[in-house]
Symmetry: C2
């Protein structure tokens, strides 16, 4: 609104600081969670003073919720990678395999995303106002798109595409949680391909086809 000068140096500086604070806050909150993160450490990580943090954000809670909402509507919104329409072309078994591989490739080696999962689940009791946007922004669009695709594959003869989409998502997310988030891959090993082969096989309805 109004006559915003393009070369206003103050506004520019303020935006840079805001960005630096959010970047520093992200590192601290994702690593230590909400309660164990201090505003001193956020300020130090951002390279500014604590007073500057408070001049950009009302308090610790609004900095945290603002950051998490920003992450959800930003880099983690399309992390499961279903926005690529080219992914949905070909036989259902190929498409489902590509989607699953895409999801796991984007999550299994993404330690920052795994920290985000820890925080969003761990803080969901104290911040339901963050948990619900997670469902709305991340989980719901993926399940609905998947459900829509499965429903469009009449040759699969699925009785409940929406519930089948839940099976698909649940299998993959729980795999990431158990192997990576909970550090279970050495205790309970399972290859990525076996999960995907089995999941896709169950949905497209194949039984001991080869051999």
């Amino acid at each position: 609104m109004g006559q915003a000068k393009i070369t206003n140096p103050d506004r520019q500086k303020s935006t840079e600081k805001t960005e630096a604070i959010l970047e520093g806050a992200m590192g601290e909150f994702l690593t230590h969670g909400y309660a164990a993160t201090s505003m001193d450490r956020v300020a130090a990580a951002a390279g500014v003073s604590k007073a500057t943090v408070y001049s950009h954000f009302q308090d610790k809670e609004s900095l945290f919720t603002g950051l998490i909402q920003r992450l959800m509507s930003g880099r983690y919104k399309t992390i499961l990678g279903l926005e690529n329409p080219q992914l949905l072309q070909g036989e259902p078994s190929i498409v489902l395999r590509n989607i699953a591989n895409n999801m796991l490739d984007n999550t299994m080696n993404n330690h920052q995303l795994q920290s985000f999962m820890r925080v969003i689940v761990g803080e969901s009791g104290r911040f339901p106002e963050l948990a619900q946007p997670y469902v709305k922004t991340i989980a719901k669009p993926v399940i609905e798109l998947l459900s829509q695709y499965l429903g469009s594959c009449s040759e699969l003869k699925l009785t409940d595409p929406e519930a089948t989409a839940r099976v698909f998502m649940g299998t993959l997310i729980y795999y990431v949680i158990l192997q990576e988030v909970m550090y279970g891959k050495d205790i309970l090993p399972m290859e990525q391909d076996r999960i995907i082969d089995t999941l896709v096989g169950l949905i497209v309805g194949e039984r001991t086809t080869a051999h």
Copy 2:
């Protein structure tokens, strides 16, 4: 070791206090997480002084880890309810449906267990020494028993019973996480029966049987 008197009142008292402290600590840690829980509140919840807490437990961290390990090897060890051998009798479709219903009945209305899930996931980054016993004590036995059962059902012709057990577990756990832990049931509703029907249907290989 040595001549422990059976009616030693001090030892008895000490055990009672220890129990009270663990009970109070459970309520606080499960509600607020590790960092947001203060030893003052633990002491108050247990009805003892803070010094008494420190005479029974070395510090906050060992109280927390001791409590969580106790919960894992105690009430949450068999929470998914597969210890009942009677559950495994009958047709595979019936057995799988019973197992799934059993799991969801034990978790969907168990708010304390849902708090435990938030804590164990949320603190897994700072306490990997708790996350791994979770996998070993809770997840692994269930997956292995399920995998063993699925492998014994030769009529199902499953190509990979172990991976199929992961699909089963993942679908149900993710359902609990999305609907209850993340408070998503109003945003993305899904009836329990639809999930179970679909999951069991995929595994036993039925397609649009009725109508």
